[in-house]
Symmetry: C2
Subunit: 169 residues, 2 copies
């Protein structure tokens, strides 16, 4: 009973919205494979899956997974921002290192935006780091229609600003 979406996807690729216990390890493996995140950041990514498994939709975390040949190779995690009317956070979007450069990230982001739009969401926010190694990440968001709206100096750590991107749906 997968919620996989078949129409309009590249051959062999499926999207799934249902969250399963096996996603705990899948998300850890995907996020770790990118080489972008510290261990404590990887733990946070996995905790969002745990929260979803424990509390369901009440967790506030929604997921889209990309599967290829039965393997989960990427995902996006998003959810409504408390105390707002129609603003959403994209918390995580990551693609298995060996599957990058094939448009999976763009596909996952588009699917997340479609689901947000379908429930009346107005704006999607993405927070990321000012560190040089995130330049490809920032380029990805820019190409997907996101605009830089704010910079919080030294938010993450000394020398590491938070950048806030937004897209109005």
């Amino acid at each position: 009973m997968s919620a996989a979406v078949a129409a309009g996807l590249p051959a062999g690729l499926a999207l799934r919205e249902e969250v399963r216990p096996a996603d705990l390890e899948a998300v850890r493996a995907i996020v770790a494979s990118t080489g972008f995140f510290r261990p404590d950041e990887i733990d946070v990514a996995v905790e969002l899956v745990e929260e979803r498994l424990a509390r369901g939709a009440a967790s506030g975390y929604e997921f889209v997974f990309a599967e290829r040949g039965g393997a989960t190779v990427g995902y996006a995690c998003f959810g409504p921002i408390a105390c707002t009317l129609g603003s959403y956070d994209l918390f995580w979007i990551a693609v298995e290192e060996g599957c990058r450069g094939q448009g999976l990230g763009r596909l996952l982001l588009g699917q997340a935006e479609a689901r947000i739009r379908a429930v009346g969401g107005r704006r999607v926010y993405i927070e990321t780091s000012s560190q040089p190694r995130y330049e490809p990440t920032r380029g990805f968001y820019h190409a997907a229609g996101y605009a830089l709206e704010a910079r919080l100096v030294e938010f993450y750590a000394p020398g590491d600003d938070k950048l806030v991107y937004v897209r109005a749906l």
Copy 2:
């Protein structure tokens, strides 16, 4: 066994850090008394107390309460921001309507900052609304040494921006 702090406080006032089940109703009453918040926002304030009671320090929510004559008349709620080194959010600060204008807010904010500084915190962030009725709130933060660092247009709702204030400790 109260964690009340006695030195240097106005007569009859005590500060307390321990969170008790009675704070669920105290926080609801304090936040509601201000007339500033929607019912869903008041629920969120109470949920943070619930989280603290259920999970302790692992909740990520720290509190300072102001008591006068045994009654809880104000509080601040703050905590470390996940995936940052030394950045903290001030989630809530509210004083019972009948006790405003006596410096309790400034006292609570100062105590929260002292605790953040004591554990190595570098920066405190406060998010608030651009709505005209929050002008006194913004004046309070400005007077307390907070600077406006970012504005997220229509974040809360159409016509209601999010303002991000910061103070470097």
